[in-house]
């Protein structure tokens, strides 16, 4: 076992892990953060997407030991005590989920996408979200939800200025 320290959703966590342990298992089974899902386990579907050091990654294809010292944000860190994140609100508003299995990965990915590109075109959203699969094939409304969230966030920014 190897001791590692991760900052997960703003909180430093020191834990013992087996080197062969994948980050998704560490998050779900040791830290009880079960928001990120295990879908395909082959780095295709994106259900396990988390934010690692400011980048979206598929946590089924990263060993926890590789993340030693890193800052991680999971879907649990996207909402605030004041309420849901705008992306979550917009996924609800625009029916961006059906069965909901892909949703944590979709929202965690979109959360980073909108920080990298706060005003994306529809094409940029589709390209930026292309590592996340929805088996209900609900892409139209997912794209609508992300674009609506971008508009809301930009409007809020303008109002604040």
């Amino acid at each position: 076992m190897t001791e590692i320290t991760l900052t997960v959703n703003g909180e430093a966590r020191t834990i013992e892990v087996d080197p062969r342990e994948l980050l998704i298992h560490t998050l779900r089974e040791r830290l009880n953060l079960t928001g990120a899902h295990i879908g395909c386990e082959t780095s295709h579907c994106g259900a396990c997407t988390v934010d690692l050091g400011g980048k979206s990654v598929k946590s089924c294809t990263v060993f926890a030991v590789q993340a030693e010292g890193a800052e991680i944000t999971t879907i649990e860190g996207v909402a605030t005590p004041e309420g849901m994140h705008v992306l979550q609100e917009m996924f609800r508003e625009h029916h961006g989920l059906q069965c909901g299995f892909c949703t944590p990965g979709m929202i965690t990915r979109a959360w980073r996408l909108l920080q990298d590109n706060p005003n994306p075109s529809e094409e940029e959203v589709r390209f930026g979200m292309s590592g996340n699969l929805c088996r209900c094939t609900g892409y139209q409304n997912i794209v609508k939800a992300v674009l609506a969230a971008a508009d809301e966030m930009n409007a809020a920014k303008e109002a604040a200025q």
Binding site: L22, E41, L113, F127
Partner: protein, 284 residues
């Protein structure tokens, strides 16, 4: 899917990493982004008792463009390639290719070093590096050496890199003229059914130089000198492009798999090369 157990190392210098490789021999593998190796370990197709993580080696990171030379550290990710403006100036074909590799999350982890060193025929950077006539830098117990991309690949997953060597980066000249990377794939995240890398220059309305390499059409990337030669001195008309495609067919050896039969792959290879030449010429 859980990989077999392994010891994990995170060396802080290249000599330390080389020494670990020397100590553990065949039982050790280096890992950068891990997006080729970790899936293989999960499927138990790769057994790696000692895993040496290169992420702490700052010598292996960064993109530099100096004195007409581009250097990419082995740890440069596909995302860094996509977002580098210096690289987009010096060799825009890199961004065009990296955008066609996998998806955003995978590009955030997958590195150019892993892509070229792994020897997977499906990877895109090997043919591209042959097209650019890049040199790969290797470091081992005996010191450093360079091997041309065009001489590096022996067979699928077999390269000139010795087991105790680390590929630290690659170098190639700043490019001029036109470029294109054309890739046919079934879906995002798939390897190429066929792909073509073309880099050419124009002088007095004629093709002055042309370099052509193909992806996933043999068990190694296929640099086709004959295809390039077929274009040189022509005005890149349809007859010249057809001659280049015919010449390229002699340098590939596709095999049937779930991406299609051999005849189909040869057809798609021709379509990709023809499109790539036309687009490169339009940019020259």
């Amino acid at each position: 899917m859980i990989p077999g157990a392994f010891e994990y190392y995170r060396p802080q210098s290249v000599p330390e990493a080389v020494s670990l490789l020397g100590t553990h021999g065949d039982d050790a593998r280096v890992v950068a982004g891990g997006h080729s190796l970790i899936p293989m370990m999960k499927l138990r197709m790769a057994d790696v008792p000692h895993l040496i993580d290169l992420q702490g080696l700052s010598d292996l990171s960064g993109i530099s463009v100096e004195d007409g030379q581009v250097r990419l550290g082995a740890l440069v990710t596909q995302s860094e390639i996509v977002s580098s403006d210096a690289l987009a100036q010096a060799a825009p074909i890199l961004r065009e290719t990296a955008m066609l590799i996998a998806d955003p999350q995978v590009r955030n982890m997958g590195t150019v070093g892993g892509n070229v060193a792994n020897g997977d025929p499906g990877n895109d950077m090997p043919a591209l590096m042959q097209c650019l006539d890049a040199e790969f830098d290797l470091v081992g117990p005996g010191g450093a050496r360079a091997v041309k991309a065009r001489d590096f690949y022996i067979a699928a997953y077999m390269t000139e890199r010795e087991d105790d060597e680390i590929l630290t980066g690659m170098r190639f000249a700043v490019q001029t003229g036109g470029w294109a990377y054309e890739k046919q794939k079934r879906k995002i995240g798939d390897y190429a059914t066929a792909a073509a890398a073309v880099q050419l220059t124009k002088e007095g309305g004629k093709v002055a130089t042309a370099a052509i390499a193909m992806t996933n059409l043999s068990d190694v990337p296929a640099f086709s000198e004959a295809a390039g030669a077929a274009l040189i001195g022509t005005d890149c008309d349809d007859a010249a492009i057809k001659a280049a495609v015919d010449a390229m067919q002699g340098d590939i050896e596709p095999s049937e798999d779930n991406r299609g039969p051999v005849e189909f792959k040869r057809h798609v290879a021709g379509v990709m090369l023809s499109r790539a030449v036309k687009r490169a010429w339009s940019r020259a």
